[in-house]
């Protein structure tokens, strides 16, 4: 097979991956940006989204599109609630001390993982896509659902961007992020804002989880990679910069796919990881750092 279709495919795949990354990364970025804490359990929220989608698919009879639509709404809500609860019960009590938060969220992720293992089981579970149509290119077939993922992600991110940029809520969130105490002095209910932000970040991850599951599967360990990747995306993009996060997601989504045209896959992964690391080394603020704050 010649190189052109190969590149096309690598690009398509990269974009799908980038879309999912964009969602999880923005969730993480929001939490990190506002609360200055690293949420290690973020990947678990993503996983719960996927498991939620599977649960909906098993419980709700009828066309898969129905259960999918339900999952897209219900799973993030439940995950968000859970996250808000965790925030209230734990993070608020340790005062968002960055280090203690890492330990606590590792604890939370252990708990979520193990509970999922005990109830949902260790197997990977498939969910039917809401619609199924295989688009045939001259050289290969491609699932139309993947285009849907890209579409939804783009729509969600655009909405978020508008919200952060132009809404009062966005302004207040950014204010709390710089100085808690002064924010309180201006009537901003910091505690509630934090819970909301934490929940919202988790919901973004859960939405991503619901979206991927018809494409890959739900599995109790699936949160690990997205956590690492979105963490990388957030920082490479430039903390708190939505355009940066998008750019980084696309860069990272595409790079190893395209590089693997020329190298063996593992070598391509090595090269792309190194590439991204060096971007950071020589541009420590990230691609869109500083100037492009949310």
């Amino acid at each position: 097979m010649d190189i052109a279709p190969y590149l096309l495919l690598a690009t398509l795949e990269g974009l799908v991956q980038a879309s999912v990354l964009m969602l999880t990364a923005l969730g993480l970025s929001l939490v990190f940006g506002v609360m200055r804490v690293v949420n290690v359990a973020h990947g678990e929220f993503y996983m719960l989204g996927a498991v939620g989608a599977w649960l909906c698919a098993t419980l709700i009879p009828g066309h898969p599109a129905i259960s999918f639509a339900v999952a897209l709404i219900v799973a993030p809500l439940i995950v968000g609630l859970l996250a808000a609860l965790a925030d209230r019960a734990i993070l608020q009590r340790i005062n968002y001390n960055p280090e203690a938060t890492i330990v606590s969220t590792i604890g939370i992720s252990y708990i979520i993982q193990q509970l999922t293992l005990m109830t949902f089981g260790p197997d990977a579970r498939a969910v039917d896509p809401p619609f199924y149509y295989n688009i045939r290119f001259p050289w290969f077939g491609y699932s139309s659902y993947k285009f849907f993922i890209i579409g939804v992600a783009v729509a969600l991110v655009a909405t978020l961007w508008l919200l952060m940029k132009h809404s009062k809520m966005g302004l207040l969130m950014r204010a709390t992020q710089y100085d808690r105490e002064t924010a309180l002095n201006f009537g901003i209910p910091v505690g509630r804002v934090y819970s909301a932000v934490f929940a919202f970040g988790a919901m973004m991850a859960a939405v991503a989880g619901v979206l991927v599951v018809p494409n890959s599967q739900a599995h109790y360990l699936m949160g690990h990679d997205p956590l690492l990747m979105s963490f990388i995306v957030v920082i490479v993009g430039g903390l708190g910069s939505i355009p940066g996060t998008i750019a980084a997601a696309v860069l990272i989504g595409l790079s190893d796919g395209l590089l693997s045209v020329f190298f063996s896959p593992t070598l391509a992964k090595i090269a792309s990881t190194l590439l991204v690391a060096l971007v950071l080394v020589f541009k420590p603020q990230g691609l869109f750092g500083k100037a492009g704050r949310i």
């Binding site: 710089y178 002095n185 901003i188 209910p189």
Partner: protein
């Protein structure tokens, strides 16, 4: 009739007591000045009023409404504004955004903003600059202006003249007088007696977390040795 009554505040940092039975009463259109050495607990007292540090005892009433049990973020909404020591701006936000946050606290109108900017016209030139890069003096003005956007009934000023050039100090003094004349109650923390005397109606001396003595401004003017006794400066 007093606007704000604070009674018997106690507060602790760890095991050390930072406030002991701190009480003040403020009438509308009056400036009460809180004086005291470094570490006397002046800043702590203001924070306790704002609810940003936990108090173990005490009551606060504003316009007849008991605020004692309210969470911290309700205090400014009730109408008490705070200009903190050391200019705590939202450093990454622009001047305009900082002011907007002030306006949003009680959903004040643009008039409040115009009024504040009228007092500090420099700020109009800097609206889109990141507030963290303002000069020290500009930052102080911004914190004052931001607090005025709340349209408060009571304003707490923690050493607002700190780091200001003499002509700007005059500006702040003027701002305080304008506030007072508009019926706002001002609780002013100051170190520099000369900055205080012209605007204050009453003076309270603080030490070790307690108010040790209260005087009217005339009493102080008549007997400057009081200053020496309580804050250690020669008249």
């Amino acid at each position: 009739m007093s606007v704000m009554t604070v009674e018997g505040f106690d507060a602790f940092y760890g095991r050390s007591q930072a406030l002991r039975g701190f009480s003040v009463e403020l009438r509308g259109g009056e400036v009460l000045c809180l004086l005291g050495r470094n570490g006397a607990g002046k800043t702590t007292a203001l924070k306790a009023i704002m609810g940003t540090i936990r108090r173990t005892a005490g009551r606060i009433v504003l316009d007849g409404r008991d605020l004692s049990a309210l969470p911290a973020y309700e205090i400014p909404r009730a109408g008490i504004a705070h200009v903190p020591q050391g200019r705590r701006l939202f450093a990454e936000l622009t001047v305009a955004e900082n002011l907007e946050i002030g306006l949003s606290t009680r959903k004040s109108s643009r008039r409040a903003l115009d009024y504040a900017l009228g007092l500090f016209p420099v700020l109009t030139e800097r609206m889109n600059q990141r507030s963290g890069t303002l000069s020290g003096g500009e930052q102080t003005m911004l914190t004052m202006a931001r607090a005025m956007c709340i349209e408060p009934a009571v304003i707490l000023l923690d050493e607002p003249t700190e780091g200001l050039m003499p002509s700007a100090i005059a500006g702040i003094r003027e701002a305080v007088i304008r506030l007072r004349d508009n019926g706002v109650a001002v609780l002013l923390v100051e170190q520099r007696v000369d900055a205080v005397l012209p605007v204050a109606d009453r003076v309270a001396f603080m030490d070790h977390g307690e108010i040790k003595a209260r005087f009217t401004i005339d009493e102080v003017r008549n007997d400057l040795s009081l200053l020496h006794r309580y804050v250690g400066v020669g008249a």
